[in-house]
């Protein structure tokens, strides 16, 4: 059954000609057609284009001229501009936007032979932690609680990407992470997701949310699959001034390194009285697995972590309020006319943006306003520097940090929705990596009592994704996570 193959296994199968990319792609096209009406993981599907790409891949494979991803069907978060394919960012305001260019990251994947199945659903402009803010409807997690059929959220903002991969509707997916949008949905959906170091993947052609925090990365079912995808997605891009001009190491090789002799830090500030005991237990279990594989576990302190969430919700909305000013109805976005220019702006943006986006534009505009800038934005930037310094200091003595990815398992649609602040609390463990730019991976470590996946997060030094992969792979090996969601391709077969 192709749906149970990992990306690495599918790649080997294609190269052995066990099956063709057309066969593989057709299977995924069919699975999407069957399950997407329920899961809503894709905003736009491109089955015919996928088959064309698959046929081209088969030709290349037949000639033995394959690239690292030739013939591999992937989902692309609908935040990546794809040439000639509608790109909505989950927003009504980009309902009709068809980019005339391809984002650098998706272009890198195409260069390496990937097949694109469609554009994955997301929170509007990637603002959310549950995928309920998408203008194209919420994504439903393929998982359900034991004995409870209420639809759960897949996490966000890369909820469509994570749900698609968890439900076996794609072998991997691109995602982006501004405050946890790769790692938290990966945790909720029982898959692996890595946010690399800020600057590792080009931001060019990705619809911007908060430019100093946004970073692309993959979600896939295994650490190795993420390594394969990130290898293709990464690299210096002169079109992004914040892109890092550094060589890309062999991430797949790093997965096999092991953790013997590594010092693993456990930041005490990530422990709180509100944390569900199951998460605490799983965290301890994860640390025990690493100890058994030869790592040394060390308690460390990150004293400014407690300010991470508050400062994040100043910096990210501030940048967003400016980044989203371009959606004004004048050039490419949907327009709602008005009697004069100001009314055109008000009508266009009033109709085009959903409530969460409006909320963040308001917050961001407020914190940048004259008289408030010093108290909010400037202060947040100073604390941000301290958060980075915490990590820099701690990485003098440890090689990686291990924490839970999220303070809870997936919740049901409708839960936590009354209070945006409660929703923001989802990002508490993931935000510090964005504020400091360091890489972080989420790896499924087990299930809670209700049968829902829980992830562990590994954080590493800037541009040391190799250690992050090594530790993530060690947890993955020890956890032997084989649980599958109820809703998935091939489940009935």
């Amino acid at each position: 059954m192709v749906f149970d193959l990992t990306l690495a296994e599918a790649r080997a199968g294609l190269r052995r000609r066990d099956f063709s990319s057309r066969e593989l792609t057709s299977a995924f096209n069919g699975a999407i057609a069957a399950l997407n009406p329920t899961l809503n993981a894709f905003i736009t599907t491109t089955p015919e284009l996928a088959l064309q790409q698959a046929d081209a891949a088969d030709v290349a494979l037949a000639r033995g001229e394959h690239g690292p991803l030739t013939g591999i069907p992937l989902a692309i978060k609908d935040l990546f501009c794809t040439k000639g394919i509608r790109t909505t960012a989950g927003s009504r305001i980009l309902d009709h936007f068809v980019p005339p260019y391809e984002s650098t990251v998706s272009a890198n994947l195409l260069r390496d032979g990937a097949v694109f199945l469609g554009k994955a659903n997301l929170d509007e402009f990637a603002m959310g932690s549950s995928n309920i803010t998408s203008a194209y409807g919420p994504v439903v997690s393929p998982w359900t609680r034991n004995g409870d059929n209420r639809p759960l959220v897949p996490g966000g903002s890369s909820g469509g990407s994570a749900a698609a991969v968890a439900a076996r509707l794609a072998l991997g997916a691109t995602a982006t992470d501004t405050g946890g949008s790769i790692r938290q949905p990966a945790s909720f959906c029982g898959i692996v997701g890595i946010k690399p170091t800020y600057g590792r993947c080009s931001r060019w052609g990705i619809v911007a949310f908060a430019s100093s925090l946004d970073q692309a990365g993959p979600v896939a079912r295994t650490v190795e699959d993420c390594a394969i995808m990130l290898q293709s997605m990464s690299g210096f891009d002169a079109k992004d001034s914040t892109s890092a001009d550094l060589p890309v190491p062999d991430f797949q090789a790093a997965c096999k390194r092991g953790v013997k002799g590594l010092r693993i830090g456990v930041p005490r500030e990530y422990r709180s009285d509100d944390m569900p005991p199951e998460i605490e237990t799983m965290w301890q279990q994860g640390l025990a697995w690493l100890r058994e594989q030869g790592a040394e576990i060390v308690d460390v302190t990150l004293p400014h972590t407690k300010y991470g969430l508050a400062t994040y919700y100043i910096v990210a909305p501030a940048e967003a309020s400016s980044n989203l000013a371009r959606y004004d109805g004048v050039r490419f976005s949907s327009r709602t006319d008005g009697a004069d220019l100001n009314e055109l702006y008000e009508n266009t943006r009033g109709a085009g943006f959903g409530p969460e986006v409006k909320r963040r534009i308001m917050i961001g505009t407020y914190v940048l306003s004259a008289g408030y800038y010093d108290a909010y934005y400037l202060r947040a930037q100073k604390i941000r520097a301290l958060i980075l310094k915490d990590f820099t200091d701690v990485f003098q003595t440890v090689d990686a940090l291990v924490t839970p990815t999220a303070p809870s398992a997936a919740f049901a649609q409708g839960e936590k929705m009354d209070d945006p602040i409660k929703m923001y609390f989802n990002d508490v463990f993931t935000v510090p990596a964005n504020m400091s730019g360091i890489p972080g991976i989420s790896v499924p470590a087990g299930l809670d009592a209700q049968g829902l996946p829980l992830g562990l997060q590994v954080l590493g030094r800037p541009f040391d994704e190799e250690t992050v992969f090594a530790v993530g792979a060690a947890i993955e090996r020890a956890a032997g996570f084989t649980a599958v969601p109820g809703m998935r391709a091939g489940a009935g077969a």
């Binding site: 990546f80 260019y101 400016s322 004004d328 940048l368």
Partner: protein
């Protein structure tokens, strides 16, 4: 002595500071690869970055940075080795991203100064506060359709250097001299073409008035003034308006105004209350601009001689008057022309020819010095013919006109038309004798004391010799005959 406007309550001093926006000469825009040429079809020079399409990112044009540094060096200003780009947020239809990328807190160039020269020969130092790089907005066209506005983004993203002066300027004349001098320096440096008609140089003018010895009063800003003359007129009109307000018992409100050259007055554009809150913050898409000291030194070493230095050299080496030297160095092309024409000649005579006959010719023909009908080499050759007595200064004017007309060289013209000066004393003596013989009554008048008759005799001799007589020899021969 110093400039003042006389009001009902006595003299008022004016205080002016200028913000000059100079388009940096670059092939492409400040943050995109789109070209910057003037006058192209609307929206034909727009990249996706300029139009602020989703996911597009700015990349700093290094040539624009070099131009800003060269300009800073030319203004004797501090070069900041670390500077930063900020976003200035406001909504307008010709501002695609909803923010202008500019340098707010950390400009690339700090304090410098410009020396201006006034008509009375005095000079003044005007402080330059800073120079920063920013992108221009597009253009809104409101007169193309009864109900619609059109947007042309060709200018969107074009690199501007905003050069801010201290409020050191005290008269319209000083303001004019400041803009002209700044323009001259920019053109020497090759960092801005200074073309005010095409909008590559424009000024925001801050004006206030005060009684002598007072602290500054409230200022108004007059936006986008696009000629030196209008800068001067706008200052005068605005200062007079403010004086009327103060003397009428009112208070000048801080506001942004526009100058209407047809009515010769300024009018309110928006008040302080309507001022935007620009919500400046560092642009997260761009890294700080960090300059290498050695690179700055390289740029400095490659700077051309600037107008002040050139003027000093023209005065010192060539003995020109400060005024003539200032006229010649105002434009680099004029200075270069002058130096080429004067090489090996009498420098003062060359200066007179350039500022006199040549400028008159250019005026008459509507040509610039770069495409002058008489080349610097040809003018130099003409000066050579005067110097070696081949022709007289008077004949030279005639030859110059023929050169302008025909493009022929001066020596060929002199030969072909027989204009060579007569220095043969026997021929001159013969002509003198003939003139004296034909005018016995005038000779008698002269001898009776009518000294000015001497000029008449000179004229008659020259006329008899078709203007070719050497004037010195003609004079000497006459003196010998009639004393």
């Amino acid at each position: 002595m110093s400039y003042a406007i006389e009001g009902r309550t006595g003299p008022w001093e004016i205080v002016v500071g200028l913000e000059v926006h100079a388009q940096a000469i670059t092939k492409s825009k400040l943050f995109s690869g789109a070209p910057t040429a003037f006058g192209a079809e609307p929206n034909s020079q727009v990249s996706f970055v300029d139009a602020a399409f989703p996911g597009m990112l700015p990349v700093l044009n290094q040539e624009a940075v070099a131009q800003a540094v060269r300009t800073g060096l030319g203004l004797n200003a501090q070069i900041n080795l670390v500077s930063r780009f900020d976003r200035k947020n406001y909504f307008y239809a010709d501002l695609p991203s909803g923010y202008q990328i500019s340098q707010y807190e950390h400009p690339i160039v700090g304090a410098g100064q410009i020396e201006i020269q006034l008509a009375d020969g005095t000079t003044r130092q005007i402080g330059v506060t800073r120079l920063h790089l920013e992108q221009d907005a597009g253009k809104s066209l409101h007169d193309q359709h009864p109900t619609k506005s059109y947007i042309d983004l060709n200018r969107a993203g074009v690199p501007l250097m905003e050069i801010v002066s201290e409020p050191d300027i005290r008269s319209p004349e000083e303001a004019g001299a400041y803009v002209r001098k700044l323009r001259s320096i920019l053109r020497y440096l090759g960092t801005c073409d200074g073309n005010m008609e095409e909008g590559s140089l424009r000024a925001d003018v801050n004006v206030s008035v005060r009684k002598h010895g007072e602290p500054y009063r409230t200022r108004c800003e007059i936006k986008n003034v696009n000629s030196v003359r209008f800068v001067m007129l706008a200052i005068e009109a605005e200062a007079k308006r403010q004086i009327e307000v103060w003397e009428g018992g009112g208070t000048v409100e801080q506001e942004t105004r526009l100058f209407d050259p047809n009515r010769g007055e300024t009018r309110s554009m928006r008040s302080k209350e309507d001022a935007h809150d620009y919500r400046y913050f560092p642009d997260p898409d761009l890294l700080p601009v960090v300059l290498d000291e050695a690179w700055v030194a390289e740029l400095k070493a490659a700077l051309p001689e600037l107008p002040d230095a050139k003027q000093a050299r023209f005065i010192g080496d060539f003995g020109l008057s400060p005024y003539d030297a200032a006229v010649l160095v105002a434009e680099r092309a004029t200075a270069d022309y002058y130096e080429a024409a004067a090489a090996g000649r009498d420098p003062k005579q060359a200066a007179n020819w350039v500022t006199g006959d040549l400028f008159a010719l250019l005026n008459r023909t509507g040509r610039t010095i770069e495409d002058s009908p008489v080349s610097a080499a040809a003018l130099g050759a003409l000066l050579g013919l005067i110097a070696d007595n081949t022709i007289s200064g008077k004949i030279a004017k005639q030859v110059f006109d023929i050169m302008a007309e025909t493009g022929e060289g001066p020596a060929a013209i002199v030969e072909a038309r027989g204009l060579r000066q007569v220095t043969d004393t026997s021929a001159i003596d013969a002509a003198v004798d003939a003139v004296l013989a034909a005018n016995p009554d005038k000779v008698a008048d002269y001898k009776a004391g009518k000294d000015k008759m001497f000029g008449f005799f000179v004229g008659q001799v020259m006329k008899a010799m078709a203007g070719k007589g050497n004037p010195g020899l003609v004079n000497a021969a006459l003196k010998a005959r009639i004393g």
